[in-house]
Structures are given as C-alpha cells and as structure tokens.
Amino acid sequence: MTTLIRIALLGLLLLANAVHAADPLVISGGNDRAIPIAVVPFGWQGGTVLPENMAEIIGNDLRNSGTFEPVPAQNMISLPTQASEVIFRDWKALGAQFVMVGSIVPTGGRLQVQFALFNVATEQQVMAGNVSGGVEQLRDMAHFVSDQAFEKLTGIKGAFSTRLLFVTAERFSVDNTRYSLQRADYDGARAVTLLQSREPILSPSFAADGKRIAYVSFEQKRPRIFIQYIDTGRREQITNFEGLNGAPAWSPDGSRLAFVLSKDGNPEIYVMNLASRQLQRVTNHFGIDTEPFWGKDGQTIYFTSDRAGKPQIYKMNIASGAVERVTFIGNYNANPKLSADEKNLVMVHRQEGYAVFRVASQDLTRGTVKILTQTSLDESPTVAPNGTMVIYATRQEGRGVVVLASINGRVKIPLPIAAQGEIREPSWSPFLK
C-alpha cells in the first residue's frame, strides 16, 4: 500500500508559474467603494525580463483584501519609478487616493527593491522601504511590500505572505483517483506537492508554527491522521484506531491535536497531547460530534454536532465539559472556523427552506448571520490570519474550485491554481516568520 504513496520532496514538483496569465474574474458585491490605489509598474534596470510583475502582485494583494481597488496599469498617465518622478495631478486625474512607486536594481546576483507610497490628496509620502532577494523571491518580496503597505494604510497586519494547503483529486474512474496534497502561496501561486496518493486525503491544516501540518490519509485503506513536517517531508502517523480517524485540529500552542474517533461506537472528539500521546475524550453524546476548532484560550473547542437532530455548532470548555449551543439560524451549520479576533464564526450554512449550502458568518455577540457566498455547494471555509479574507471550496461548471472572498463582500476571485481535476479543502496558514 505504501508503494502507492509518493511523498514529493519539497520543490520537486513546481506546478505553478504558468498560471497568473489569465486575469481572474472579479465580482464586486459591496456597497461603498474600495479605495483606489495606483501601484505603478516597478522600474527595472537589469537586462533580461523579470519572471514576475511585482506591481501587479501587490495590486492584486491589496484588491483581495476588499479594501483597495488598483488602478489598471494601462490607464496610467505617467510611470514614475521613484519619489522625485511622481506628478500628483496625474493621479488626481485618475481618482487614485494613493500611489506606490518602486524600482528593482540588480546588485551582486541579487535584486534590491526600493518602494514608496504617497497620499495623493496631501502629496505626502506615507511610507518608504526596501527589500532584497533572489529572482525566485520576487513573489515573496511583492507580498512583503503588500503587507507593509496594507498595515500602514489600514492598521491591520497584512496576511499576504501566508500559504494555503489544499487537496486536488484527479478522477479517472470510480476506483481510480489521484489525490494530492499541495501547498501554495495564499493566492494559489507556486503550488508544490507535499503528498500524493491513490486513496483520499482530507482535512489538511497548519500548526501555529507554520512548520507542521496535519491531515487525514486513507493510504492504509482506512482513515488515519498524520503529521508532516513541511521542510523535511518527515511524517508521523498519529492515530490507528478502528473506525473514524478524522478532522484533526491543532491547539493554538501546537502541543495538542483535537480529532474525531468513533472507536467507542460513535463519533466523539478527543484531544491528544502530542508529546505524551495521551488521549482525552472531550465529548460524550450518542449523536455525531465532529469538526473541532480551537479557541485561542486553548480551552474552548467549537464543533459540529447533530445532537439536536440537524447539524449545528456548539462550543465546549474541555476542562469543565460544559457544552453550549452556538448556532440557531438555519437547518444546517457545520465546519466552524473562528475569525482571528474571535468575534465571528465562519461556517457552512444552509438556510431554512433552502437546499443550497453557503459560507456564512455569525456575529458571536449579536447572534446575527451574514451569508458570504452566493453559489450552492460552498464549503470548507478558511479564514486569513488577519480576518480580512476567506477562501472556500465550491463547484463551477461541475468542477471543484477554490474561491477567495474578502470578508466585506467586495471581492470574489476563483484562485488560479494550476492543478488537474478538482481543487478542494483550502486551509490557510497562520502568519509565518
């Protein structure tokens, strides 16, 4: 069985790069306008053409947040690459509120990037900075600049240097599907295969350290939970129980893993101390209990349960065992994910009287529910570590795709991931060091 599994070493299968050519479809859904910002193509003094367009990546990042709307490069009247070249009336004419300029200079086999951001109305410099790296790090440098600019302009830490896990499934017949677990930049670029199998892979998630991931693999013809170290590819099998072994969820400090086992007769949530491998059962109900998600306190676990008939979301204190129902609107609420500030619960939601599943967000103080997506089989929501964006899985023309949406509803973009077959189960990394 294990011969069917090939762990691709990091960097072995680079699937991306050819992807960013097609312009993704942008659907605007919000009320008030996003802030127009011009990210001018960065100057480049080198001879060869660079493989990545930093200004375009930065513009897309800022757009993805739902807060900014980049000015298209073809509309630009002038193309300044440094502060002294910025003519503010050009940008006022275009309605841009901010303008970013930058230049890339080759120095000793590396690239030195200078950038500066200006407020068009006040004609003042908002920020300036520099970053350097190899040609292969152009995307990293672009996301770094986006993070800096986003935080300066909004006060919210940028989450553009993060990563995404997802599963692809290329089906040849009912008994022949090739599954792969991949990691890409948050925007779907530079996908790398971490695991391939002829048996299902599901529920991948990052530990808070960003170095370990957990997932479920059927490579032994049964679901089993594994931990894998991203850098080395080393794997550890965590569970080997009869029945369900599923829905692994990392505790905030990365020392424990919550998951689902049905070894005692029906699905219950357990917590394992990863150092001692000691197992603690935390739910006790004859219904289905699954999909644990940890609160930041390391004591609260949100989970899905059908104890009231239909799946709804509950939360429990694992020390006291006290359980409280959280969702009341809709006849199907599952797969709970907390926003970074723990004010909102993002989940898969089905409205009363409807057959479709959508991603929705519940305000945990007021109890109100806001539906974030408009398609019909929307699932597996995952929230950016700064809470500004959500990525979810859905179907388009019969194919599984993942879509990035800003929490404010302005932006919905299918991620341009170059993968064969279905793409599913996106899972956002934490902030990475």
């Binding site: 089906r171 009912v174 599907t177 299902p200 599901l202 529920s203 059927f218 013809k221 049964r222 679901p223 009869e242 029945g243 369900l244 599923g246 829905a247 689902v260 049905s262 699905p267 289905i288 699954t290 999909e291 899905t304 799946p311 199907y332 599952a334 797969n335 898969v348 599943f357 089989l377 699932e379 597996s380 179907r395 019969g398 599913r424 189960e425």
Partner: protein, 167 residues
C-alpha cells in the same frame, strides 16, 4: 406465504434496477412494473421451487451495493433481502468483509464521514442480528470522497448514497 414470495421478487426487481444504475425514479417505475401480480405468481408457479430459490439467491448474492435515502441510514427492504443471503454465506465461510459507507456531496466532508459510517454500521448491525460475528465485519467510511457518479443531479447523488460490501 405467497405474499412473502411475491414481496421478495418485487424487492429483487427493485434492487436489481437500482444496482443496474437506474435513477431512483427509474427504479421506482421499473419496480412498479415488476409488482405486476401475474408476473410474480407466474415466476413462482413455473419455477420448480428449489431452482427458483437458488436463482433468487444467486441474484441477491450478486448485490453488494446497498442504497439509502437522503440523510438516512435506514436499510431499504431490498437491501435486507440481499443481506440475508450475505449473512448466510458469512456465517458459513467465516470470511471477513469491509462495509464501505458513502454519502452524496451535500454537506461538509467530515460530517459526511460520520454519516457514511452510520450507514456502514446500519449494515453491520443488520448482519450481526442475522448471526454474523462482529469480528468478520469492518466498517470504513469514505464519506463523500469516493462518489460512484460525479454529477450533482438527484440521480447521481442517489447512486452515491450507498454501502459497498467488499470481500
């Protein structure tokens, strides 16, 4: 007695129709056609008793996929008929089988893992009630991960809500 045989035949016709990959609607139609009392009585009258029974049994033994209604883990009568034959075989030869539970694509993946297991366990429970040792039976849920049909229409989804008995 006659009614029992008739019921068995009707159930068989239904099960075969479903197994042949007909839509749930199509299966119902075929089923209704098969519940023609004359057809039922004729088959019994013409068969030489044991031969008819053996033919029945062989047909039922060939059924290793058992279908379920949406959001349900209740065994359908036609599934029970086939499972009775499998139970007899399993008690006789003591072999081990895997009961693979599956769901349609609606709902979340991990929740569907649990639903698929519920279906597998419904089959397991039924076989154990017929005298099969629990040690011969293992339930493995695949949730919505291994659909038999890939469409999102009712017909495809009906084919995916199933338990496969795998030797």
């Amino acid at each position: 007695m006659e009614m029992l045989k008739f019921g068995k035949l009707a159930a068989l016709a239904l099960t075969l129709a479903v197994a042949a990959g007909c839509s749930s609607k199509g299966a119902d139609n075929t089923g209704e056609g098969a519940i023609d009392p004359n057809a039922g009585y004729n088959a019994n009258a013409n068969g030489s008793g044991t031969d008819g029974m053996l033919a029945d049994e062989a047909a039922l033994r060939a059924i290793t996929t058992f279908y379920f209604a949406y959001d349900s883990s209740d065994l359908l009568p036609e599934a029970m008929r086939a499972l009775d034959v499998h139970a007899k075989d399993l008690k006789g030869d003591g072999s081990r089988v895997v009961l693979q539970g599956n769901t349609d694509e609606r709902g979340t993946r991990e929740y569907n893992m649990a639903l698929g297991e519920r279906r597998g366990m419904a089959v397991q429970r039924y076989l154990v009630l017929q005298g099969v040792s629990p040690a011969q039976l293992e339930v493995v849920s695949y949730g919505e991960e291994r659909p038999a049909a890939t469409g999102s229409d009712e017909e495809s989804m009906a084919q995916n809500r199933r338990v496969n008995l795998v030797k």
